[in-house]
Symmetry: C5
Subunit: 355 residues, 5 copies
């Protein structure tokens, strides 16, 4: 999986806060899905219009507005006006080349991070940027708009009223979204670990250029994972230490929990990084080793047969006066000498431990 | 020893606090062992039922509940309810892929870390996760449930009333558990150091592909050790600096002591890390060196015999008019020339220090 | 692109604050361009004289004095006197070998950083030093004087009164200048990323000495980029945390935004650094790999033909008494033996997986 | 010099504070030497008994009790009781595998560090652990008990009343002990630097497998030195910043001085570390270089003589109808052709800069 | 340029504060030069005696005592007594193996650092230790005593009354000394950069063992530079943040300026470090590359001529019954077959991209 170069350049020169979508355009329209709930009940609306969000703005129930797709700039602009979002925040939402971070704004908290998933078909890591904005009584989640969604189990939990979620506020919902996303990092790490293990077995049994290529691929993915995961720690730390009254004390225990998860993810990535670089060293050493092996075979063969061929060459010369050629036992003698030379060479290599 | 990929993925999508056991299922049932003691006496119960813990909950004596095996979710759930443990803590206990940490909760402190042991049969490091929860008058230790246990000497000390342990509270017992576990890290390090020394001797006397393989294995184990040991420092530091009234000032001296141990362990691991990477460098260099040696032999042989064979070949040509062939001393002359050529070559190699 | 060695040495021994221009002299005169604006209107003057700035000094409107070219020392000296700039600041403006930094002086803030651009003709990164001084009602920007300028779109925005810029003070203008410059870092990074991707494809399909040369070039540029970008974070951090009353609270949100950008740039550079060093490792490994391949071919050929040639040599000897030579089937027999020897060799190499 | 693996494992399972000697047992008994002094005079007692220390305990003069040898556990236990040392401190004294540290206990300060010396006979670094305990009016120094002692000059200074030492308290004596030990680190570094310089000359003049072995040895020693020296900085820093009233303000100036020394030592070690790893790189590169050289010789020889030998072989064939064989000038012509082929090859190598 | 091992060992065992000169003895006597100045005038005395300094001690004018040469211990001792310097400071002045640092003593500030210069004759970096002590109305600068001096331009400025220097106090003079020394670091860096650039061109055009040697030399110098420059940052930082009333607020702006210089120097050194290690990598890779090239030539030659020589050998055999030998077109046929074999080989190598 390759982190695409985002065409950030098209924005250069525009005033800050200008809304331009930077990233891959995914097909289809932007879809809005509203889920409004409190302890008593749930009101859900798929394929909603933005206008339908407005009535929920002033109720006390938690409203979760989930938007998929970033290309409808008008929609986002009206959303921004409706919920009082700062132009820079809207700009950040549209720019899919963001570093994960959380911003404590007046009246709401903005979180942006990468949502990773493993595509079972292409066996590649799929990355999508998610922005989460939550305030007193609302959570807005904005996804890039890739097919599918990790949040369905969470919606199901809200609908069924399982767990604590219906009793708690938007900060808990935002935490739940983060928790879901971070849990998927672990899945990626698992797949990663499996591939490292397979690779390691190859490294021992049959290392070849293909092994090298795989190490390289894993290294690239690891670098990408690292870039996505490192800022998570700071993000969650900032949320946990935030003195914003938008985050309840009870939620902070949960944030501390996913903070531990983030640290764990980073730890694991560093461990894999160490293992990969160790594997590359081992690979290089074993290539050298085998080259050594090959060289030894060559040297043994050459060292044995070159003197012998020379000897045969000598008696292949056509001089008139070569007394040995006329000897009765000349030929067997030469053969014996050749045997002796070969034997000495083999003895020498044996002693040098080359055989 | 390979750190197994834990199937954390099966939990994705479940609400936080859902109890799912992540890790290897060890055979047998979960066993509970109760050890209740104060300065006066000891009450012990092996293979106890959870219900038998309840009466100890409100006494002032220290109750140590030691549970082996994580697969009985019902048991843990009831334990959680009984001692007021937060669902996230229960979740952490069950997930055997935890980073070592300590959490200062209300009314109790939660510690989780890896317990390492050296299996003399497989000569491998065996890792097991241990959770320790301690409060005003109880210590709960929960092990994954591998065969055997490092805590028997500690129990013996409690039974015999040797040392300070019977006079002090649950914080000292928790410290003693930590101390026992950390002492075993030193054993692992000793074994590790022995293997590094053996390896180093091999590296000097007879480096081969096997040496490379061993360096790789040690590196992997070292990466694993490092991952287990690094968080220990922070864990103990947090305990020592904790302002919880569950930890007495007198115990803090002991905690500082094992803090020093943890730092020492990390130091040693970093030292071994340096030594291993130095050994790999040396290995690579010596492989290059020997390849050089092999190449020299090949080159010497080729450089001596190729010109000679060519010379023999020349006089093996069948031209009708080759005056030398008819000379009386042609053959001895050619032999002399060959000797001279060979001598010059050997002189040259000698001067170049190749012999 | 190579960071030129700046002839800082010519200044040694002069008292601090002596004005000496250190850097490349760009052709042409120093040009001054004045842009004075407030919410009501804009007054612009290209190719102005310094004296023309003076009347604006005491008005409340924002005056942006943009100077291109550093060789007119007299001009800068008079500017310094006119706006009360400290001699050390003037010295820093003239020395184009500055590390990016911001200085909080009395009455004004001094910022110096590198402005990077991508020259489409030479496909090289072009670097120019920019100093920004801003006070209560003025912004002075001083460029080294390379052809062209990144600030034209900004001027256009001021002229048209688009965005917030006309309503806000000199701090916002200074921020806008910084924002423009930092946005161009992203363009450089994009180009960089494209080249890394191209290089990576080469690395897989056809690595050669050219690939190595390109890795080296990218590494050098990356080192240069890194040196330019690292201090940006600190620069903006200091501005954001500054308690100077020259920076409005509303501007600080914008500064935080470009602080995030700076962190993002540094992150990306570190990622590219990792990728480049990984690519070099892979390159080295694949060179070793191919050497191995070459050696195998050589060894196979030598190992097959050396014994055969020796055999042919034996029967090319001219001994009188070689019974085999007279045999009826001697020749075909020898050919058969040769075939057998060759076959055994090939079988051996096949088993060793060399073919 | 190899850091021995200390048998820490024998202690596992014992309660904390149990006294077990971990380390090499040095021959002979534990020796006690008492030196009691004040501005007026000195009272010295070699080979004293522990009981003889007691009378000094309550005087105001400074008592320096120097113990050599750790195997007399009873002695240490009584010492502990007599001076009120915490069991954990006694444990640390006995365990010779300690990381250097200082502990600020009630009524006394405990310091433990490695004392390094250079054995001129074996040309090896000799390491011995020293514990220093000092209180209001006493200093206890406990050495492992290796032959010889670095403190004799210090004792001489006390006897002669040279310098400030007799006028100042136990903190100054403890500082003097530290100063003596740290001064010996510089001697070790000097020897180290000399060996690095010798090695570097070898590296340039005649690098061989022996050079590699020496680099490896120096690296190992350097890793050991580093492990011993790094904690010194923290140790002295803690002493200097300590708010214990056992350390006078006047002594702190001296502590700051050895703090600078410790930083200097660490700096030097890091420098040597850099130099060693640079040397290894250079070594590897020069091995590659020489292999290249060897390969070139081989290739030149093979490339010149293989075609020539082939040509000679062609005219050694026994075909009946080979018109060239009958030519009058066939033989000289073939010799000419051979010369030409050889010449072309040499020209080619010359152009490729291989000769 | 090699950092000499300083014979620090000769001091071991002496009481702290004992004056021993550690370093190279430079020829000639210690020379004292007095420069006393205030806004009104300058009084200068070359080759002064120490006694001549005394009258200036109690005037308000700034007295600059510049001492060259460290071997006159008596002189330094009297100086120490006269200006109330602490024995440890005198010890530090004499020990030329000091890490750069500043000490805030009572009544004066002590600064020690390395003064680097570039010797145009030997093209080597020349290092000399400078100690600067300044108090209320005096500055003492003590140089090791190498020929020549960097401070002449500064003296000239004082004599001429150019710049601010005559109007300001000893702190500004001390700053000016630091500024002069640090400016010379830039000269060293310039030379360094030039050599790196030359080396880099060599690396591309014609890398050989000489290139390797130069990389090694530059690396060594860089390690030395780094060791000298790193502590400068801390030194100046401490001065700037010092709350000593010996440093005026106006001087602090200047200190901040050279602090930026120090950071810039360290940055540059780190950049060169990166570049050098990158160059070594490239060198290694290109050696491997060229070895590959050599091997290919060898393999091509061997693979073409070995089969041909074998074929010629076969028809050089002396069997009686070899029907081919009697064929009319046997010889041309064999030549054709040889051509074909050669052609196939060349085609194969072409396809493998080896030609």
């Amino acid at each position: 999986m390759v982190e695409k170069v985002k065409k950030r350049s098209i924005k250069t020169g525009l005033p800050p806060g200008t809304l331009v979508h930077i990233g891959t355009h995914h097909a289809g329209e932007s879809r809005i899905r509203i889920l409004d709930y409190d302890e008593q009940g749930v009101r859900e609306k798929k394929e909603a219009l933005l206008a339908e969000c407005v009535p929920f703005r002033d109720t006390d129930s938690v409203t979760w507005i989930d938007i998929e797709g970033l290309h409808d700039l008008g929609l986002l602009e009206r959303l921004g006006t409706s919920y009082g979002l700062h132009p820079l925040i809207l700009e950040d939402i549209l720019n899919t080349d963001q570093r994960a971070k959380s911003d404590d704004m007046e009246g709401y908290i903005y979180i942006v991070l990468k949502m990773l998933d493993f595509d079972p078909v292409s066996t590649e890591i799929v990355s999508e940027q998610v922005s989460i904005v939550f305030g007193r009584n609302f959570v807005i989640s904005i996804q890039e708009g890739r097919e599918g969604d990790l949040f369905e189990p969470l919606r199901e939990r809200i609908r069924n009223g399982k767990g604590r979620i219906r009793k708690l506020g938007p900060d808990y919902l935002a935490y739940s979204l983060l928790d879901t996303i971070i849990d998927h990092y672990f899945i990626i790490l698992e797949k990663f670990a499996e591939r490292i293990e397979t690779l390691e077995e190859n490294l021992v049994s049959d290392p070849g250029p293909e092994t090298l290529h795989q190490i390289h691929c894993l290294k690239r993915e690891m670098i990408f994972l690292r870039k996505s995961a490192w800022p998570l720690r700071e993000l969650i730390y900032n949320l946990e230490k935030s003195d914003s009254n938008l985050i309840q004390t009870t939620t902070k225990v949960y944030l501390r929990d996913i903070y531990d998860h983030a640290v764990h993810i980073i730890d694991s990535i560093e461990t894999y990084r160490d293992m990969l670089s160790s594997m590359l060293d081992i690979y290089l050493s074993s290539v050298s080793n085998r080259m050594n092996q090959v060289m030894k075979v060559l040297t043994i063969i050459a060292t044995i047969f070159m003197p012998l061929t020379f000897l045969a060459g000598v008696y292949g010369m056509n001089f008139k006066f070569m007394p040995e050629l006329g000897w009765r036992w000349g030929y067997p003698l030469v053969l014996l000498i050749m045997l002796a030379v070969g034997g000495v060479m083999i003895y020498y290599f044996n002693k040098k431990n080359w055989l």
